[in-house]
Symmetry: C3
Subunit: 195 residues, 3 copies
């Protein structure tokens, strides 16, 4: 099994790219899984009766959040391994999260060492395209970027964080440009890199 962690800041088109990855691999009959880290955390938290919904997770004490993260990572590895030797698994998560407390690493040591992926993908786009997409898409809760400079800063911190996480496990960091209007380009590049 080969694991890639797919990251990208809100508005970059990560969800669409990962759906396209899934479509392509289904068509090619290659065994794969796309696993959302947040969903795994939520499921674990509900099973353990820590929370009833997603919003309650970030109100948990930090030790409990860390416990959930590690449990989620272990479950992801288990599910990924069930794919067998030729399977591809893609973990949908963040390299950094922009919070009121600053840039929070999405792949800190206690998580990345459990996942131990081959590749950390950074999906990137032109900052102005990200701004435009954000204005169109008012249906989802989005990180609010006031301008292209802020987006550049977030993308830069994602690069620093991804590289720091990669150094811990010897993974590579692959930048994938998501071209506006054609998620297949990024999707195919992600698949090609991991196979």
């Amino acid at each position: 099994m080969k694991m890639g962690i797919v990251t990208g800041i809100p508005g970059v088109g990560k969800t669409t790219v990962l759906s396209t990855v899934a479509e392509i691999l289904q068509e090619k009959k290659i065994p794969f899984k796309v696993m959302n880290f947040g969903d795994y955390m939520l499921r674990t938290a509900v099973e353990k009766k820590y929370v009833n919904n997603r919003d309650e997770i970030r109100k948990l004490p930090l030790e409990k959040q860390r416990e959930l993260q590690q449990e989620a990572a272990r479950q992801i590895v288990k599910d990924a391994e069930s794919l067998g030797e030729n399977g591809l698994s893609f973990i949908d998560t963040h390299a950094v999260i922009r919070t009121a407390s600053g840039y929070l690493p999405g792949l800190p040591k206690h998580i990345i060492e459990i996942l131990s992926p081959l590749v950390i993908f950074l999906i990137e786009s032109d900052p102005n395209e990200i701004l435009k997409r954000q204005q169109k898409d008012s249906s989802r809760q989005r990180a609010d970027y006031s301008n292209a400079d802020v987006i550049n800063e977030v993308m830069n911190f994602a690069r620093y964080a991804a590289m720091a996480s990669a150094v811990l496990v010897g993974a590579s960091v692959k930048i994938v440009n998501n071209v506006e209007g054609d998620p297949k380009v990024a999707a195919n590049e992600i698949i090609r890199t991991l196979m």
Copy 2:
């Protein structure tokens, strides 16, 4: 107790910002401590009879310096915990130090893992303001910046180093802009972030 590590390159106004943090918290009667990492190292070194003054510390063998750093970090955690659950502690130190041997990380693995802060603050200012302050302030020993490009490089390496340290313990990295002439803005942002 909540711990924040407050870093900033020489000339950025860190000392003034931290004094302002102290004034605000005293007024609000919130239990807090501002602890200078270098002072803790020096006190430990003198107690252990390794040195008589600050300058002698960097002449010690590397293993001794590392021992002092770790001992200082443990003492800081002890003092921070004495504040009780609602206390705020602020560690005054550096994310990187510009030395003749290059950029030395101020929060290497063996220290950050002991401190395990919630937030690493990076106080930043406009490079030209930093240059100006440096020219006015000849009373203190300062890192000598020849121009704004050098200052930009130092601030960038501080970002890379802070993020690498943060990834080790799951802390967040918060950039705080110190506006010339108004340290209260930065001080209040630091307090708000940690509370």
Copy 3:
């Protein structure tokens, strides 16, 4: 013994700088070793009968590659220590390697913790000089840089990776500019920094 890791992206002139370091130290009768990480890996791999030549190494399973890296690192430390207290050792390797799978860290945790150097050097040059050198030098297999933007990105990722590796062991990261036509400048700066 003092150890420096000397890194630089292909085309930056690292080989020439390290030959110049060797010439200067030979003249000054200072005990030293310049050790190429890849050569140590190859020798270990051949001894263990894993491979017959360099190209076969990257086709080995990842665990075997990691085993070889760690064995090479241990052998390098052993050879470095044989120089005695005043010896200088220089490890010729990369901070990141630009591969089809992305930016691969050359000094991941499992290697840097064994080497535990004092300094990680980043030899840098003007991107346009690197492009020119690459066009002249068709005799060696080179990373193909299409333009100066790509070179800038590689040099930036080398900085992030070097700092992340440095944070793990408390090493410093020293940028050394290789001036076109005069490798002695960079060579002397490397020697001066380590002594």
